[in-house]
Every structure is written in structure tokens, then in C-alpha cells.
Symmetry: C2
Subunit: 374 residues, 2 copies
């Protein structure tokens, strides 16, 4: 390792916090200034720097400005219902699709991975993916602008992974991912295949592509960009652009979400009662006593309610968010009141989302069956 | 390596000659005695011990005797026209299919491998496979008994390779194959997928399977048998049986056939004129001078004409073969006469084969398109 020991881990054992160092070491550019100005619409995740960095976003901005086609790519391993983490990536996906009428979405459902790693049968993956897709449609995904596919049905992706396997070496894979079992390296090649799939002939050939990801997914992006360059002569690939969002804590303040800690995860399909209980028990920036908090003020920067729930997810209005911050910081508003107010927003959002998604079943089924409705 | 340095190499740099040691070290059983007796028909390759060993052939004999279904599996990488090497495997495939009306053939065309390794486009693979299939049909393949598929079209095989990748370790792969690039290990898993494909639900589930191979292919068989055991719980796999043939020299006496030495390879589609020239130039067991050969006799054991061409391929009659041996050994027949007589047999065979195969184009096309005509 010549990178001072920082190996980002997309499979979840490391946790990245030092984004500046990350950007310097791996060449992720900050998303700021002129680039943000050129975005036709500034999503709250952009305004609040939750999307903090990018690679080659310039290329996508040019495509938007010149009315040229580009692809937005994302994927899920269908292992459970959508939660705040998958909501985040979905919103980014939908956002980049909304920026131009020439954008085309590609949504990969990694059912083979779910089977190989979690023993989830392909039919069960189908059921889960259907539910996930209902959420994405409720979040605003335009079904006429997206190509939805299951890994188990998309042979060209497997073909690409197979081709890539011939030129990639252990050394490359180990330098990017650290020492890993054989199967995870293969998954990495399949994911590279997924990311480049929009550029294959059956999807109209090479085009700018952007992949919104969490900071921990950068190894996949780097590998894919290397492979895109290596196979440029053969396929004409354009190395994919990417945007990076910060990694968020779970509701209990843990760095990494885990199903073993269900109180940490807010599912989009959760009952309001259960959701309310989780919000009310979330980790806050409160002080030891009410007296102390009135005197010193709260610590909203540390607070899951403020950072993860309000700022990242549920409070759109920047001015209101700032007021909220100062009400806490000044000690005027204590945690009990804050949580009650936060729940009003969150509960209302969840209720409306669940009503919307309930109407999306038929559409999601058609999309899964037909892959595209355009 | 705990096997005293013997790592068989299915990708072609080692050459196995010491079959006894091979059998002892890796547990290949000799094909002899009672087992041969139980074969309903004794092919010349069996009678002459060119097929010298097996694993679990007992299981196939039982299926034959009890009228139970079994699979015969083979595959090719479509990289060129059929030659004597591919003729050998094809004949074995057809032979094991002929032993019972309940046998079903599976023929894999590794077009993805041909693309990844030899840059042969998939359409070109199709054209080559079509030509290869015409040869197999001319050699006697019953088109109603075989399922023919291209790797690029058979997603379940890729799925299996993907699943296997999760449980197989570097150590296992390195112990079997020696240190190898990542891509070749992946190919090995895909081949294991091909060999177990007949046992997947879409082909009717678990069944005895036999794979006729050259001795150098045993690593694939061992890996596949290990994987079959490992996934028995999940898929019900029966570890596949295999038969092994000796590795033959090319016409010029080289241990390993290579396209860089075209005089060494006799193609089944070759013009009679060109074929005749190659036979006439083949490596023989002749002595330095005619005088010496009359005095000492020839060395048919060393002779490509005798061992590879007559014994392995073109002289069916055992009694004639023995007479031929002694005519040479005694010094009565010199190489010129021998070659002329051999060419009569070979030329006649080639002519008849080429007439037959020319009539097989439509059938081969249907088989490639429809995969099965049963």
C-alpha cells in the first residue's frame, strides 16, 4: 500500500470521516463555487454540502447545458426495505435525472449478489426490489426515463465482468480494496460492468454517465474509471463521473447502520407508531441536565435529529433550518420540544410517502417486468 | 504445494506423460478389467487404452444398466476449425451418448472466453461454432439428444460461477491451478458452472454426469467435484464423473499442438492435398537409413503415423493394426510405403467426412438457434 494505509471499504468495515484527506489522497474534487452555480437546480443535499465532492461532474454539466444525452446510474442489493440511507441515494438519482430532459436513468438490482451473499432467493429479491421501486416512484422517479434491470437477467453486464477479469490483476484489486476474498473482487468487476452498462451498444453506446454514491463507494468508482480507460479502444467508454455524499450516522448515533441495531434504522415502510418511537429515542446533542442545556445551549452539530433527520432529510427550508439551529444552540429549545416538532415534520412526510407508494404497485410491477416504459 | 510440484495445467504449458504417477497422486482410477467389460460397446479409444482413466465411471455404468437418465457434458472454445484433438473429444462425447437411450448431451460453446482471451467477436464465434457443430453431426452426434448453448446466452452458468466465487478461496484455486491471473480463475469457475449446468433445475435437476477430457483437464474436474460437494445441500449436485484420454502429439511429433506450427495440425476441413502433404511429412519411427531400418526394424511406438494417426484415429480394426505394427517392427515395411497406405485410409476418411459435414449446415444452424431439437 502506497497510500498511507487508507483503503476505503465499500463493504463496510471502515468509516470515513476526514473528507478533506480523502479528497486529497484520491483526487475527489470539492463540489463548490462555479460548479454549484451551474447546476440548474440546487438540491438541499447540494446546498448543505451533504454531497461534498465529485469526479468529472463538469462533463455532466456540459451535457446538461448543451442538451446532450447522459446517463445517471445507481443500483441496490435487494436485501430489505428502503430506509434513510437508500432514500438519500434515490433522491440523488432522481435529482440528476431531473436536471435535463436528455438524462436517462439506469437502475441495477443486484439480485445475484443478494443470493450469493445473503442467500436471498431470486424470487424474494424480486419481491423486495418491487417494494424498493414503489418507494423510488413515490420519491419522484419518472418511470419513462429509467431502465430497471435485475443482474440475473442482464447478460451484457456479466459479459463485461468476464472481459474485465482478463486484464485486471490481483495487485490492482488489492491496492484498491485491500486483501479480500475472491468473490468480492468478482462483485467489484460486476459493479464496474453495471456502471458501464449504459454505455454498451444495447443502450446506445458511449455517453457521459454520473453515479451518485456515498464516500465509501469511491473504490468502485476508481476501479471502473480505470477499466473504462483500459477498454476505451474496444468500447469507446467515457470514464464515469461521480458525486459523493457524506456518510451519515444511524438514529442511535452509530457510525455504521446495522440491521442488528433496528432502533438505528428508520424504514420508509415503517408504521408511524414505530417510527415515532425511534425518533423520540434518537441520539441528540443535549446536555446532561435541562438546567445545563439552558445555560450552555445544545450541540446541534452532534445531534442526529438536527444533522441526519432535519438537515439531511426532512426540513427543506434553509431559513427554518437555521432558526432551528439557533433555537437549540442558544438553549431556548430543549430536546423534548425539538423532537416533538421534528416528529411533526417526519411523521407527516412518512404518512404522505406511504400513501403515495401504495399507489405505485402496478407501475413498479410493469417496470420490473418490462425494464423500461419509455 | 503439497503435491510434490505436480500441478496439471489445463491452459497448456505443462505436458503430462507419467499417467501412473498422475493417477496415484490425484486419485484417477485406471479404466480396465470389469469396468471395460460392463461398457455395452467398447470404443477403439477404450480398447486401445487411449482413454486410460476415470473418476466415478461406475456411477454412469449403473445408470446405463438401470436405464436411468445421465448427462454427457463437453464444451469448446470456438477459436478455429476442428482438428484431430477436437475430433477425439467429440468422438468420446458421441460414444458416451450412444451407450444408453437415456443419455442426454450438453455441449457448451465458450464464446465469452474466446472473446475475452482471443478477441474473437461473438458473431465470429457463432460462425466457428456452426462449423464445429457440422463436424460433430458428421461424426455421428444425434441432434435430438443434445442441448447446445453459447456461454453468452446461458445466464444460469454465469449465476453459478458467481455463487461459487463466494465460497472458493485463493488458496484452493492456487493449490489446484498454481499461481494464475484473476481471469483464468474466473474461467475455471465458469467451467465448473458449465459442467454442473445439466444438473440445474432448468435441465431437470441433479443427475449423474460424465465429462470426457484430456489428462491435462483434471484440475477442472477436481475443482468441479469439490464445488458439487460443497453445494450439494443447496442444489443436490452429484459430483461429476470423468474419463481421461492420453495427450497426443502433433503431426510433427511436438508434445503440444500450436497454431504457430500449422504443419502439426490436421484440420477436418482441410483440403485433401494439404492434408496429404502434412501426413507425408509427419514424424515417424523410422531409422536413419533404409538399410538400418530393414536390419533393426522401425519404432512404431514412437511413430506419429502409427500411434496418433492409425491407432488413435483412422484404423478401426484391431487385427489390421497389429499386423501393421509388426510389418514396421520387423523392418519389412519402410516409412514411404507405410505413409502411402496410411494416407489411403486417412484421405478416404477425410473425403467421406467432408461430404457428410457439407450436408449438416441447416441442421447445425437449427441446433444453434433452438439449442435443442428434442
Amino acid at each position: 500500500m502506497d497510500r498511507e494505509g487508507i483503503v476505503l471499504d465499500p463493504w463496510g468495515t471502515s468509516h470515513v470521516k476526514d473528507y478533506r484527506r480523502l479528497m486529497e489522497q484520491f483526487g475527489i474534487e470539492p463540489l463548490e463555487g462555479e460548479l454549484i452555480e451551474r447546476l440548474p437546480y440546487k438540491h438541499r443535499l447540494v446546498r448543505r454540502r451533504i454531497i461534498f465532492g465529485h469526479r468529472d461532474l463538469e462533463m455532466i454539466l456540459r451535457a446538461i447545458e448543451e442538451g446532450e444525452e447522459y446517463a445517471v446510474m445507481t443500483g441496490i442489493k435487494p436485501s430489505g426495505e428502503f430506509h434513510l440511507g437508500t432514500k438519500l441515494t434515490s433522491e440523488e438519482f432522481i435529482y440528476f435525472l431531473s436536471l435535463s430532459p436528455k438524462a436517462r436513468g439506469f437502475f441495477a438490482i443486484a439480485d445475484l449478489e443478494a443470493y450469493a451473499d445473503n442467500k436471498i432467493p431470486l424470487e424474494e429479491s424480486y419481491r423486495i426490489a418491487l417494494s424498493n421501486l414503489m418507494d423510488m416512484l413515490a420519491l419522484g422517479l419518472d418511470p419513462r426515463r429509467v431502465y430497471v434491470y435485475r443482474q440475473s437477467q442482464e447478460m451484457p453486464v456479466m459479459q463485461l465482468a468476464f472481459i474485465f477479469s482478463r486484464s485486471v490483476t490481483y495487485n490492482t484489486l488489492e491496492a484498491i480494496y485491500g486483501p479480500r476474498p475472491f468473490g468480492l473482487y468478482l462483485s467489484a468487476l460486476v459493479q464496474a460492468g453495471d456502471i458501464l452498462n449504459p454505455q454498451l451498444p444495447h443502450h446506445g453506446g458511449p455517453k457521459p454517465t454520473v453515479v451518485p454514491v456515498g464516500a465509501d463507494q469511491d473504490p468502485h468508482i476508481r476501479l471502473t474509471r480505470d477499466l473504462a480507460r483500459k477498454y476505451r479502444g474496444e468500447f469507446g467508454f467515457v470514464p464515469p463521473a461521480a458525486t459523493y455524499h457524506k456518510l451519515l450516522r444511524d438514529l442511535t448515533g452509530q457510525e455504521k447502520m446495522s440491521k442488528r441495531n433496528p432502533m438505528g434504522i428508520l424504514y420508509l415502510t415503517e408504521s408511524l407508531e414505530s417510527a415515532r418511537r425511534k425518533v423520540m429515542n434518537a441520539f441528540t446533542g443535549g446536555r446532561a441536565t435541562a438546567e445545563e442545556q439552558r445555560r450552555l445551549g445544545g450541540e446541534p452539530e452532534k445531534c442526529v435529529i438536527f444533522v441526519e433527520l432535519l438537515s439531511t432529510h426532512f426540513l427543506e427550508d434553509d431559513k427554518q433550518l437555521e432558526e432551528w439551529y439557533w433555537e437549540c444552540k442558544s438553549g431556548r429549545m430543549l430536546c423534548g420540544e425539538c423532537k416533538a416538532r421534528a416528529w411533526e415534520l417526519i411523521g407527516a412526510w412518512l404518512k404522505r410517502h406511504q400513501e403515495r407508494r401504495a399507489k405505485m404497485r402496478d407501475l413498479a410491477e410493469r417496470l420490473l417486468e418490462e425494464k423500461t416504459l419509455s
